[in-house]
């Protein structure tokens, strides 16, 4: 749980259990080909992390739907990036 987790506690989400809206196309590309792995630092919600085996993991529960990860991953285009289903995901109270 990165430090940002504390920040996301106040946000309102409706998690689409079992239907993450962002998926890694091929995890090996992250480990073998991508030297930059900007997603690990750029995501404002800290949704990207490295697991014990050095694979990038994405958890879309706290996603703020800004789109930064998709743009910085353009080099390898390794993200299957979509909006969540209607009414799901972040639901801003103030915006």
């Amino acid at each position: 749980m990165s430090a940002v987790a504390e920040k996301l506690h106040h946000n309102r989400y409706r998690v689409d259990e079992g239907r993450p809206h962002i998926r890694l196309r091929d995890p090996d590309i992250c480990r073998d080909d991508c030297r930059h792995r900007a997603c690990l630092t750029i995501c404002p919600a800290g949704a990207y992390s490295l697991d014990a085996d050095g694979l990038v993991r994405v958890s879309t529960d706290g996603c703020l739907e800004c789109g930064s990860c998709r743009i910085v991953c353009a080099e390898h285009d390794n993200l299957d990036w979509n909006w969540p289903r209607g009414g799901y995901g972040i639901l801003y109270k103030f915006g």
Partner: protein
Amino acid sequence: MAMHSVVCIKQVPDSSQISIHPETNTIMRQGVPSIVNPYDLHALEAALTLRDRHAGQVTVLTMGPRSATAALRRCLAHGADQARLITDRAFAGSDTLATALVLAHAVAMLHREQPVDVVFCGRQTIDGDTGQVGPGLAGRLGLDPLSYVVEIDSLDPASRRIVVRRRLGSASQTIESRLPCLISMLEGTNQVRFGSLDDVLRAERAEVPRWSAADIGLDGSEVVGLKGSPTRVRRVFAPDPVERPTQRLETAEREPADAAAILLDALARGHPELLAELVGAEVARTGAGRTGLSC
């Protein structure tokens, strides 16, 4: 034979978003949206599933202010066929007992329009009321109350026989009953469906009729609103913070077994009774018992 189900829902504030200002202890209501009481969505899905099997009509009903129409529209968008809003200044402040009375009159009116076979309602609301709407409706309308229902096993419209499965904590019952009956679903048993585009378009275009107290035959003789509610909230206050002594055990560079022993010692000194319970030993209790947990 088409079935007519009536689903009673309630528009509630999303209590998970309510927070208390740490210093002033005031309730911060800004940005707390209204939603359909989540328990009621399990009831709506059960009614829609019933309609899938036996055809017929699903009516959603709520008592509340004008703005509660939004909650009804969301239920139409999930696939309900029609909606009714029961709204009247006289109802302001009703607790669950008074609410059940108003809804009973509304269901009776719907019954005259088209006979009602099953009344569905959520077990309770998330703002934690006492879950009396179900029993209240059943009592007022002479319906058999079937609560904590997990699944409707079978329903025979001709013989009016219905078999449901319910779960009460550690026991699961299969119950046979007669229509008309009242069903409140155990939460988590189903997931309300994602409406079709036609459902959503129809929900936005639908005209939601409003009924007043007089429209449903409540001429003021029955007691509703605040005076009809037996309970009164005396005061609302912040719980005193749980002062918990925190202690860091010195286990640096110790073998796991030593560290474990250190914890057991600490428990033996600080919480002997708990340690006794953990190891299953009967330690003569001093009758002190644990003080009530403050929330």
